[in-house]
Structures are given as structure tokens and as C-alpha cells.
């Protein structure tokens, strides 16, 4: 169930690397890829405070926020991310997070559930490639659209 570019062009995505994290390469490649696939992408770049993600999402009425965290401290940076979204009136905005989400090599299941508990809709393990991200977005945003329609 993939969306066509037209449908994607109606969807706005916020991307960025959260916290004091400088790892821009993967985030930039991801942002480029999403744009190429037709999405409207607002790329905040590296070293982006949680607040800035949410500000941008509100301003652009974004459909999803894609948070990158590579440097290991994501667990601290992302802790209250969903709560902040809710405060800002983004109750059910789609939240993705990906990269190297914790310090050290840990079992992915633990890591994933930790981020689910924080309120992210999906967490992506190290090594995730862009086509997989696009597929997931198509799936989740179509669902959401239908949910809204209903």
C-alpha cells in the first residue's frame, strides 16, 4: 500500500537531529530521499532542541516528526517528547525516531519498547535504509488519513 507522489506532496514531515547531536549525514540522506519521494520536508538539521521540532510542526501543521538521534543520549533528549507535543496541541501527530538510540550495543527489543513507552509510534534500529522508512510512512499516514476521514 504505497502512496503516489501527489498524495505525498500533501504531507509535511519535520526532520532533524535532536539534542546536542551533530550526526547529520544519515539525517540529511534521509531528508533528501523523502523529498525525492514527493513528501514536503522541513529539515531542521543537526543539534536541534526538542522545542524547535515542535515549533516547526505547529507552524507547518506537519503530519509527522522524524527525530534522529545517533550519539547515544537520545534516551535523555526524547524522554518528554510526546508530552511536549500534546501540550502544543499535537495529540496524535505521527512520531518516528531512529539512529543509534541508546548508549552501547543493547538488545533492540528493549530499546524499541523504551521508545514506545515514551510515546513514539515507531522506532528504527541502526542500519535502517530510506526505502523502508518511506514504506512505513505511506502505511501509517494512509491509515491516519482514513482515521481522520471516519
Amino acid at each position: 500500500m504505497t502512496l503516489i507522489p501527489e498524495q505525498r506532496s500533501r504531507l509535511t514531515l519535520i526532520t532533524g537531529v535532536i539534542g546536542a547531536d551533530t550526526h547529520i549525514v544519515g539525517n540529511r540522506i534521509l531528508s533528501m530521499a523523502l523529498e525525492k519521494e514527493g513528501f514536503k520536508v522541513v529539515a531542521l538539521g543537526a543539534l536541534t532542541p526538542a522545542e524547535d521540532f515542535i515549533k516547526a510542526a505547529v507552524e507547518t501543521a506537519a503530519d509527522a516528526i522524524l527525530v534522529s538521534s545517533l550519539y547515544g543520549q537520545g534516551e535523555l533528549d526524547c524522554r518528554h517528547f510526546r508530552d511536549m507535543c500534546i501540550e502544543a496541541g499535537l495529540e496524535n501527530i505521527l512520531l518516528y525516531v531512529g539512529g543509534n538510540l541508546v548508549v552501547g550495543k543493547q538488545s533492540w527489543d528493549d530499546v524499541e519498547s523504551r521508545y514506545m513507552d515514551m510515546g513514539f509510534n515507531r522506532a528504527f534500529p541502526p542500519g535502517t535504509r530510506t526505502p523502508d522508512v518511506v514504506r512505513m510512512l505511506d502505511e501509517d499516514l494512509k491509515e491516519k488519513a482514513e482515521g481522520a476521514a471516519a
Binding site: 539534542g19 546536542a20 547531536d21 551533530t22 547529520i24 549525514v25 540529511r28 540522506i29 533528501m32 538539521g45 543537526a46 543539534l47 550519539y71 547515544g72 543520549q73 534516551e75 535523555l76 543509534n100 541508546v102 548508549v103 552501547g104 550495543k105 543493547q106 541502526p126 542500519g127
Partner: protein, 499 residues
């Protein structure tokens, strides 16, 4: 709330000249006042502490000695969020890893001077029983406690703090007894920051280098080091070397005499050997041009700094080969990684294993050198032909002032860096790997590199595009970012299997 540090612009006009003593004293006073542990520092006492250490724990001496004896020393990275974890780590790297140089990596909050966040990280780490920080919060602990780390090991120690705001960390680090310090104004600011200006980054490291020179005046030769690996992502030798030269000239301007050059490995045996040789040669060439004949600039080779494979066994080959490349290339030291690289900060044991595997590879490299190979000469010549016009242009743009020339060159894209997160960089230069595994430039942006040189790069990359049946475009650069992290099925499948 921390009293944010005002830019020093008000204090001094920006230039490459030495900070006058009185100004520097004022700067230090203001700087040390920003956090309680800063106020505790007494330079005289700290210098005495250094002088009392045995020579083999002083990195300035150890680097000179290794260079004289033709050795390749090993050094890992490593930092955890609490003193206890950090001590355990450093002892493990020293004893189980046989590290010749023991590191302390600071956490990213410390690097960004967010000391309250770091304090929170310490608490969270203690609660969680595991490190929630990606390094050791040195400023929070302060030099009195941190000296326990220096005293727990029998090797020289180095601070690794990827940041452009090192001013308080370096004060605490040196006062703690660290005799090595990695970091520089151009390299780190372009690779680790987004909104900080190159000028501000350089100013901050002028402070650090001026402080190192102060220790020199007090009879302590510290080892300073420049992170020419930059963004770690397919950095062509010429670009790394340009930053080596610039950062060295800036450090020397503040009085530093023992200054290391770091190069991330290209992973090509010949290109890395050429890069190591030319980094030192070209840096010395420009030092001499500017009248500096007594500066020690050893080269450190770093294990692959780009994306690693997600398979321990593949990583083990990158680790071991990293030792081979450094030793055959004639690097004075090698900075190691581990088979955990693609996943996360390694455990002390995995880190130590990476050190031992690298050390064995160094032993196996024996006394092999490639200088007699024509391909080696070709690469050396290419590097020189790429570096000189850009470097000369930078000096020209600064009317002889390296600091000013550098910021003007960055603005103009004359000095450029791939994959930079920094808003002040054009980051138009696009490297990619050619069919023989050499790093080339698909696009050199606005860097003044001769046409025939770029033709050579393009010809090589066209051959790769042809081999892979892909167009000759920017995607080559993206594919090259992933290349070394790909699975073996992708890299070398069994060639003849029935589909």
C-alpha cells in the same frame, strides 16, 4: 542556568597572533568563574603535578619518543558517565587492551557546556546502573576527583572532547593531569557545530592552545592534536590535510610546539600511506614558509571514521586492517574502534579487543613501506597539487593572517568540507570512492583545484559509475557513504550462483 560565555570579540580583534598575557589572564579569570570546579584550578600547582609525573605518562614526550623509535602507538576512545565506570574503563583499556595512550571522551552535554544536563546525566546513570551519557562529564567532576583516573593508569592520558567550546573542559583536563588534548578551531567547528561561527570556534581553541603554551612556559610540554578526520565521512586526503595545516598554524600562533595531525583512514593502503606522508610534509612546508622550524607534527591514523558494517566479523577486518594501514603508512599512533562500532559505544572488553587486534596487526606489518611504489608517488603528487593552490589562496585571502584567511575562505567555499552540519560552511564538496577504492572528489565546490586534477578525479569516478552501471551523479557520493557498511552479499556475493 550557566552564565553563557560571551564571545571574546569584544576583547581582541580576530587574528592569528598570540593572545597577550594580560588579556589571557583576564579571559581565564572570567572563564574559570563559570562553574565551581573551574574556580578550584591553580595553574602553578597543576604544572607541578605534571612535572612530577614519570616521563612515560607524559604524552608530549611519548609522542616524540615513538616518532624517534619509529613506533606506531595505539589509542582507543572511551568515556562513561560516572567516575567509577570511567576508572574501570581506563584500567581495562590500559591493562587488557595494552593501550599505549589512554583516553577520556567527554559526554556531549559537557561538549556543549550544558553542565546541568550533564549533572542530570550523572544522576540518571547512577540510578540506571549504566551510563546514560556518551562520555565522562569532566567539568562536573572537576580536576581534584578526575586525577584519580590519571593515577589509576600507568600510561599517558588524552582528553577527547568533540566540541568547539573547550575552554573550561581544557582547564579541568590539563589540571587533572591529562598530557594530551584533541581538538581544534577549524576542524571541530566545521564538523561538530551548526550555528557557531568558524571565527568563534577558532577563538575558543586559541584560548586552549594559549593555555597549553602556558604549561610549556612552566616546563610541561603537552601534546596538542587536531582532528583532521572532520566529519569522518569520505574525507579526501587533501581536505583533511588543509585543516591540518591551518589548525597547526593557528596553534603555533599561540605558542604550541608539540602538535599532532589526525587523519581518518581512506581504507586504501596506498592512499592512506600517501596521505600520512604528505600531511606531515605539507604541514612542515607551510610552517617553514612562515618561519617555524621547530614544530613537532606527528601523524595519527584513525580507524575508518565512516559508517561501519552491522556484522562483527566484517568489523574485525576493518579493525585489523586499520592497524595495518597505520603501521605501513608510518603513522606515529593509531586511534582504534571496535566490532561494536555500528551499534553503539563499545563495552570496555570489546574496546580492549579492538586494541589487541590492532596491536597484533601492527606487529604483522613489520617494517613494510610503500614509498618505492609508483602508485604511491602518484598519490603523493596528486595530494600536493590539490593542497598547495588552496592553501596559498587562503593565505592570500587573509593578507598573510591565517585566521582571517580561513574564515574568508570558508565563507567563499575556497575551504570546504563534505557533509558539514555547520551553517557557515558551503559543504558543496562531494567525495566518492572510485573503482579501485580510492577516495576522489565528484565535486570540489568552489575550491580552487586545477582542472586537470579534477579531470583525473572525474575519470576515476566515471570508471566506477560504469562498473556499477549507475549514472555519474551525486548518488555516487551517497552510495559511497554506505559502501563500507554494506553486507557481504552486497559487496562480494558468490559470483556464479544460479539465480
Amino acid at each position: 542556568m550557566v552564565a553563557r560565555l560571551q564571545p571574546d570579540t569584544d576583547e581582541l580583534p580576530f587574528s592569528d597572533t598570540r593572545i597577550p598575557d594580560d588579556v589571557f589572564d583576564a579571559m581565564r579569570k572570567k572563564n574559570l568563574a563559570r562553574w565551581p570546579t573551574g574556580a578550584e584550578i591553580d595553574l602553578e600547582e597543576a604544572a607541578a603535578y605534571h612535572r612530577a609525573m614519570p616521563q612515560h605518562k607524559q604524552l608530549g614526550w611519548v609522542m616524540r619518543q615513538a616518532d624517534a623509535e619509529g613506533r606506531c602507538l595505539t589509542q582507543p576512545r572511551g568515556g562513561f558517565g560516572t567516575l567509577e565506570l570511567q576508572k574501570e574503563l581506563m584500567v581495562c583499556l590500559d591493562k587488557e587492551g595494552h593501550a599505549d595512550i589512554v583516553p577520556t571522551t567527554t559526554d556531549s552535554y559537557t561538549r556543549n557546556e550544558q553542565w546541568e544536563n550533564a549533572a542530570r546525566g550523572i544522576e540518571e546513570s547512577k540510578k540506571a546502573g549504566r551510563s546514560m551519557l556518551n562520555g565522562y562529564p569532566m567539568v562536573n567532576y572537576g580536576h581534584k576527583i578526575t586525577r584519580q583516573l590519571i593515577e589509576a593508569i600507568d600510561k599517558p592520558a588524552i582528553v577527547l572532547s568533540g566540541t568547539s567550546m573547550p575552554k573550561l573542559t581544557c582547564e579541568v583536563g590539563f589540571a587533572s593531569g591529562y598530557s594530551g588534548y584533541l581538538g581544534s578551531g577549524l576542524a571541530y567547528t566545521t564538523s561538530y557545530t551548526k550555528e557557531l561561527s568558524i571565527e568563534q570556534g577558532i577563538r575558543n581553541y586559541q584560548y586552549l592552545d594559549r593555555l597549553a603554551a602556558r604549561y610549556d612556559e612552566l616546563g610541561v610540554e603537552l601534546h596538542r592534536r587536531q582532528p583532521g578526520f572532520l566529519t569522518g565521512t569520505n574525507i579526501p586526503p587533501c581536505i583533511a590535510i588543509l585543516t591540518c595545516i591551518i589548525d597547526t598554524l593557528l596553534a603555533v600562533g599561540q605558542g604550541v610546539k608539540n602538535y599532532g595531525l589526525e587523519l581518518g583512514q581512506t581504507l586504501h593502503l596506498v592512499q592512506d600511506a600517501a596521505a600520512i606522508k604528505m600531511a606531515r610534509e605539507l604541514t612542515q612546508e607551510y610552517l617553514n614558509k612562515l618561519g617555524h622550524t621547530d614544530i613537532f607534527t606527528p601523524v595519527t591514523s584513525l580507524h575508518w571514521m565512516g559508517a561501519w558494517p552491522y556484522d562483527d566479523a566484517q568489523c574485525e577486518a576493518l579493525v585489523a586492517y586499520g592497524g595495518t594501514l597505520a603501521a605501513i603508512g608510518g603513522a606515529v599512533s593509531v586511534t582504534t574502534k571496535s566490532s561494536h562500532e555500528a551499534f553503539g559505544i563499545p563495552t570496555p572488553q570489546a574496546n580492549a579487543a579492538g586494541l589487541r587486534s590492532t596491536r597484533m596487526a601492527i606487529y604483522l606489518a613489520r617494517h613494510i613501506r610503500l614509498d618505492s611504489m609508483p602508485e604511491f608517488q602518484t598519490e603523493c603528487d596528486m595530494i600536493a597539487r590539490e593542497v598547495r593552490p588552496v592553501m596559498d589562496k587562503i593565505l592570500e585571502m587573509g593578507d598573510g593572517d591565517v585566521a582571517i584567511g580561513t574564515i574568508r575562505a570558508c565563507e567563499a567555499g575556497v575551504m570546504d568540507i563534505p557533509w558539514s552540519p555547520n551553517n557557515y560552511m558551503k559543504s558543496r564538496v562531494m567525495p566518492a570512492r572510485d573503482a579501485d577504492g580510492y577516495l576522489r572528489m565528484f565535486d570540489c565546490g568552489d575550491m580552487p583545484i586545477a582542472k586537470d586534477v579534477m579531470d583525473y578525479h572525474h575519470e576515476k569516478l566515471r570508471m566506477r559509475a560504469a562498473r556499477d552501471h549507475v549514472p555519474f551523479d551525486h548518488e555516487l557520493a551517497v552510495a559511497s557513504v554506505y559502501e563500507l557498511s554494506e553486507s557481504l552479499e552486497t559487496l562480494i556475493p558468490f559470483p556464479w550462483a544460479a539465480e
